[in-house]
């Protein structure tokens, strides 16, 4: 008799390289850490172990290439062989932190003045000792609603270290704080993390820069938590430049309190298969979350973006604009949902996914969605996919611009609408340069 009913997956498929023995070694190596931290890790590992891998019937993984997220063949956070500090972004910064395989490899502190005013830019392990309360309150404190609860648990179980940024009430940090997360070595699994806490009426810009050493196959399973207190303003930019052999899973959580404003821009420029989940919770009136993303999909790479804008209070605003430029045989998936709670009247929510098709063989998938339980709201969403007009292409070529340079020009033209929303011209320029380098590589 042929078996038909559900068959439980073999354990190896569930945990891949991240076996109980490997986890035990990880805990042993970190046995001096805070007991609370180790307890969380154990609980997270148990969740990871028990949760199923995504399956074809999961709506949250619709269109994703599931074979690409298999967890075999990686070694969690080996010590970076060279431990070379990866190149930083070409922008003047207020402070920097660099990690290779989750271990601090370099840093430059905040100015004495900012330090005096209480600004903390440190590692999570430092923060565990000095600011345990803040960590307990904000570290991965939000629900995983976008399909990767299992991988978020893996992140929490194996996280080695990460960035902790705390800006006290009323303090403004003008220049960006730059965090570089490096991965080194074939098969390396890294768990980068950046936690940003901006207290009431503070202001800060944080840049996460993800880079691989060389072109080896790696696994990056990262998270970032952004918390904007009453009237605070966070600008967050992430440049994902992992190697083109890397599997990248990244989870973002943004909490926006009363009259706070968070602008986040995610650049997806690397990885073989990259999934990004972004959750914005507008928790109090006047909160505003601006969610931006730019993706260059080339080769046979896949970029999978899942977003959720939850309006939990009246008079809140969210504005999402995700733009993908697709070349060659690449694929993109965008699935976005706006949720408006029953008492979140006067919500103003916008969601737009635009795809520029630079190749006939590329494929973009868009799944925009709305779930509105209040009656006095303004919610708009839309998705478009457009090809390069052959007349535009001829126009560029007729000026002597070769096809590759023409594509670059058109991609920048397409991205400009998003890049120009960044207030800092220096950051805008640094990101442009980074994008150009990635296009030309």
């Amino acid at each position: 008799m042929a078996s038909s009913g559900p068959v439980s997956a073999p354990v190896a498929d569930l945990v891949g390289a991240f076996t109980p023995a490997v986890f035990a070694r990880h805990i042993n190596a970190n046995s001096t850490a805070h007991a609370w931290w180790l307890e969380r890790k154990r609980a997270a590992y148990a969740r990871f172990e028990s949760l199923p891998m995504p399956s074809r019937t999961d709506e949250a993984w619709r269109f994703s290439t599931l074979a690409g997220v298999a967890l075999g063949g990686y070694a969690p956070s080996p010590e970076g062989a060279a431990a070379a500090t990866p190149p930083a972004l070409a922008v003047e910064s207020a402070a920097t932190l660099s990690f290779v395989n989750g271990r601090l490899s370099g840093s430059s502190p905040v100015s004495a003045d900012l330090a005096k005013r209480g600004v903390v830019v440190s590692t999570l392990s430092d923060a565990l000792a000095r600011h345990p309360g803040l960590l307990r309150e904000h570290f991965m404190a939000q629900p995983q609603k976008l399909g990767s609860a299992k991988f978020a648990a893996l992140h929490e179980a194996f996280i080695q270290d990460g960035a902790f940024i705390h800006v006290p009430r009323g303090v403004e940090v003008d220049k960006p704080i730059v965090v570089v997360h490096g991965a080194s070595g074939a098969g390396a699994a890294v768990f980068p993390h950046t936690l940003v806490i901006a207290e009431d009426n503070s202001r800060v810009t944080v840049v996460d820069h993800f880079v691989s050493e060389g072109e080896s196959r790696q696994f990056a399973c990262g998270a970032n938590d952004l918390y904007a207190g009453h009237g605070a303003r966070i600008t967050y930019a992430a440049a994902q430049c992992w190697s083109f052999e890397t599997l990248s899973l990244q989870f973002n959580s943004t909490v926006v309190r009363r009259d706070a404003r968070v602008q986040s821009l995610n650049l997806h420029l690397g990885g073989r298969q990259a999934r990004h989940e972004s959750l914005s919770q507008l928790q109090a009136p006047g909160g505003f979350s601006e969610m931006l993303a730019l993706t260059i999909a080339a080769g046979s790479r896949e970029y999978d973006q899942r977003t959720l804008q939850i309006h939990q209070a009246p008079n809140t605003k969210s504005d999402l604009l995700y733009k993908n430029a697709l070349l060659d045989k690449s694929r993109t998936i965008f699935s976005g949902l706006i949720v408006v709670d029953p008492d979140a009247q006067k919500t103003d929510a916008y969601q737009s996914n635009r795809n520029l098709m630079l190749s006939d063989d590329a494929e973009s998938n868009s799944l925009p969605g709305l779930e509105i339980q209040a009656n006095d709201v303004r919610c708009t969403h839309g998705a478009t996919s457009s090809r390069i007009d052959p007349e535009q292409e001829f126009y560029l070529k007729s000026r002597g611009i070769p096809p590759k340079a023409a594509d670059e020009l058109l991609i920048f033209g397409f991205f400009e609408e998003v890049l120009s929303r960044l207030e800092s011209e220096a950051l805008h320029d640094a990101l442009r340069t980074l994008i150009r380098t990635r296009i030309q590589s």
């Binding site: 007009d389 052959p390 007349e391 535009q392 001829f394 126009y395 560029l396 070529k397 007729s398 000026r399 002597g400 611009i401 070769p402 096809p403 340079a405 023409a406 670059e408 020009l409 058109l410 920048f412 033209g413 397409f414 991205f415 400009e416 609408e417």
Partner: protein, 251 residues
Amino acid sequence: MSSLEIKNLHVSTGDKEIVKGVTLTINTGEIHAVMGPNGTGKSTMAKAIAGHPDYIITEGDVLIDGKSILEKESDERAREGIFLAFQYPSEIPGVSIANFLRAAIQARMAEGEEIDASAYYKRLYQKMDLLKIDRKFTARAVNEGFSGGEKKRSEILQMAMLEPRFALMDETDSGLDIDALRIVSDGVNSLRGPNLGILLITHYQRLLSYIVPDHVHVMIDGRIVKSGDKSLALELEARGYDWVKHEFANA
């Protein structure tokens, strides 16, 4: 001196033959006007020479200094010195004129060579002043929201910056009021010189009182049926195209 030779050129779009055997040689330093009623193949000829993929050259050849350019892609032809001033230039959203021209100039430089940004802007502003174009223009996206006159001035600005050997100007006068026509013509006249050959496509004599051609050709039904000097244009203005058509039919 360079020459652009058009030899027995036949061009089709789809199944339809539009240009039916045009032979014409333009030397640098000369301005050739090609006149004719709408739909006689003037624009088709220009686009085919520039390498537009929709226009298929079925017979004949186009040569620069004796070498055929037909095997080359349109961007290579442009770098060889062909410039097409479009009748209806495309809009390129998000790409500023300054960046667009920079990319075009960069494409003409040797690998590894970089544009000197300050010299570039100096030259750009100089040409813009000449064409009475506001400097704020450089930050605007190429042709996006431009008026008809701005589009044509932008075409001439590009021509001035890219310094082609042969410019094919497709109905550059269409949609221009008299002031814009004067500015555009002044611009073209300032570029006139021993290193530039111009093929000026128009169906009005009006333009030719501002840009005085060395040679005038009349194109009807895909063929050049009559050639002469600038007086031919005046004659056409006075008598219309019918007498040429008639003469051609009787030939």
